[in-house]
Amino acid sequence: MQKQAIFQAKLLPYALVAPQLAIVLIFFYWPAAQAVIQSFLLQDAFGLSTSFIWFDNYIELFQDPAYYEAIVRTFFFSFAIAVSSLSFALLLAVMADKPLRGSMLYRTLLIWPYAVAPPVVGVLWIFMLHPSLGVLSRYLRGMGVDWNPLLDGDQAAALIILAAAWKQISYNFLFFLAGLQAIPKSVFEAAAIDGARPMRRFWTVTFPLLSPTIFFLLVVNIVYAFFDTFGIIDTMTRGGPGTSTVTLVYKVYTDGLLGGNLGSSAAQSVILMVMVIVLTGIQFRFVERKVTY
C-alpha cells in the first residue's frame, strides 16, 4: 500500500498547504513574535517613543507582588475549577451510564451547556447570583448568607469558579461517559461476583480504568481555566472587586489595554505562552505513553 500521494508538479503541494500555513503564520506566529519583541520594549502610552530595554519588563514583573498574587490566584482557580468540574462530571457520567429509561434524552441534555459561549455563561450566572437582581441571591440571603460578590472578593472568586466549572462539566461528562462505555461491562460484573460493593468497585476498578481519561481531562481543564475563563471573568466581575478575580490572562488585558503598559502585557503573554507549551508537552508525553494500565 502506497500511503503517500505522489505529486508530479513541484509547486502544487506547496500551493495546497499555503492557505493553512498563511493562517497559522499570520494569526499565530506573527502575533507571538510581536509579543516577544514587544516584551523587550518600553513604549509610552501614546506610542510616540519606543526604547529597547532588554529584560526590564520581565524583571519588573517578577518584582511585582501583584503578579505573584495573580499567579497564585490563577493556579488556585485552575485547580478548583478542574477538580470541581471533573468530580461532578464523573458523578453524572457514572449515573448516566446506568441503563435507565430515557437515557438518550438526559445524556443529550447534559451535553447542551457546552454549546453556551463563556460570556453568556457569565451573564447567566450573574443574573442568578447578582446581589440585587439575582434569583438565587434572594434564597442565599434568606438563609442568612451575606451574599454580595460585587463587594466580597472571596464570593466573587467562588462565583467565577462555579460558573467556569459548570461550563466545563458537559465536556468532561462526554469524555467520562465515552471512557466508561469503553470498559467492558463484564469487568464490572466480574467485580460484582468477586464481592466488591459499588463504592469499592468504583475506586478499585472504574477509577483506575478511567485514569487515562482523567489525566487527559485534567490537562484540558487546566488549560481551559487558564485561558478560556476570560469571557466569564469579564462579564461577571471584570477582575473585581479590587483585583480579587484577576487571573494571569485577565491581567494581560488590564495591564495592556486598560493600563497602557504594552511592554509588561507582552512579557506576561510570553510567560503564558511558555506555560501552555509546558502543559501541552506534559499532555503529549503522558497521555500518549505513560498513562496506560
Binding site: 467492558p184 463484564s186 469487568v187 460484573e189 466480574a190 467485580a191 460484582a192 461476583i193 468477586d194 464481592g195 466488591a196 460493593r197 469499592r200 478499585t204 476498578v205 483506575p208 480504568l209 485514569s211 494500565y293
Partner: protein, 360 residues
Amino acid sequence: MANVTLRNVRKTYPGGFEAIKGVNVDVADGQFCVLVGPSGCGKSTLLRMVAGLETVSGGEIDIGGRVVNQVEPADRDIAMVFQNYALYPHMSVFNNMAYGLRNRGMKEAEVKTRVDEAARVLELTPMLERKPRQLSGGQRQRVAMGRAIVRQPKVFLFDEPLSNLDAKLRIAMRVEIRKLQRRLSTTSIYVTHDQLEAMTLADILVVMNGGQVEQFGNPLAIYEKPATTFVASFIGAPPMNLMSMRADEIKSQIGNSGDAGILGIRPEDFVITDQTPAGGVALPLTVEAIERVGAETFIYGSRKQDEQRIAANPGELPPGEVIVRIPGSEAPPIGQKIRVAAVRAKLHLFSDDGRTRIEA
C-alpha cells in the same frame, strides 16, 4: 459443594420479549452441567440469571438449598469465567486472582497461599507479576480460571470460556477444565454453542432452543435417543439426516402404522450395500460431493425427489440431500449411483412437527 435447581425459571425483558420460557433443570452436587444451543436460545441469559447478573422474572433458582432470586451475585458463593475473560486490566495476575479474596476480608497470608496454589495448578507462577495485556489468550483464560478457583465457591459458571481461543488450544483447555473440575468436584454450569464441547464435558447435558429446554440428560443418551428433531440435528456433526414421510410411506418403509412423521438417520448409521436389512431402510443415492478428513469420509448424495421427500425445516438438510459417513478414505467417485441402508435399530422416528419422538 451444592446442587443447583432451576424451577420453572422465566425471563421476560421490559419490551415483552420472553428470553426464557420456563426452564426446569436439576444439577446434582459435583456434576458438570453443559447448556448448549444455537445463538439466541437463552443459554447465556440463563447462566447470567444463576450468577445474579440478570433479574429473574419468574420461578426459582436454588443453590445449595437456598433460593437466591433476590441475592446479590457476591453473596451467591459462585465464581464465573467470562467469554472475554473480564480480567482487571490494571491489576497484575496475582492481584486479579486476589481481588475476590481481599474483598471478603481474607488475611493477606491466606490470600497468598491460595493464589500461589492456584497459580501452581494452572502453571501461572512465572507470570504472577504481569499485567493481563502481557499474556497470550490461553494464559488470560487460565488467569480467569484461577480467579474462579481461588475463591473455592460452591458453583463454577462458565460462559463460553473457550470461544476466543484457537482450535488447538481450545481442545487442550477443554481437557484441562474437565480434569480440574473432576479434581475439585465443584458443581459447574457451562454454556457453549459448540456441540462437541458439550458432548465431551457434560455429565448432564441441557439442549436449549428458543428459551426452552428441548432435552436434558446424559450426553450419550441424548445422542442415541434425541427427543426432538431439533436435538437430533443439533447434537452430532454432521447432523442427522431428517426426512418427512407420509403415513403410507412410514407404513410401507418401516412398517409402523400411524400418522405422517419425520424419519431420522445418523450419517454413520448408513452402510453402502445392495442388501436391505430386515425392517431397515435403503436409499438409492447419486454421489455429489466427497469430504475426506482422514479417518473418515463424508459422502453428500442426492435422492430422486419422487422417492422420498426431506424436511426443509431451518437448520436441517436442504431438500434432496443425504450425508453418509463411512470409515477410512475410500469412497465412490462423484456422479456414481450407490445404495445405502440402515438397520431398524438405528432409525429415529419423530412426529410430523418434530416435537416428539416416537419409539419405533
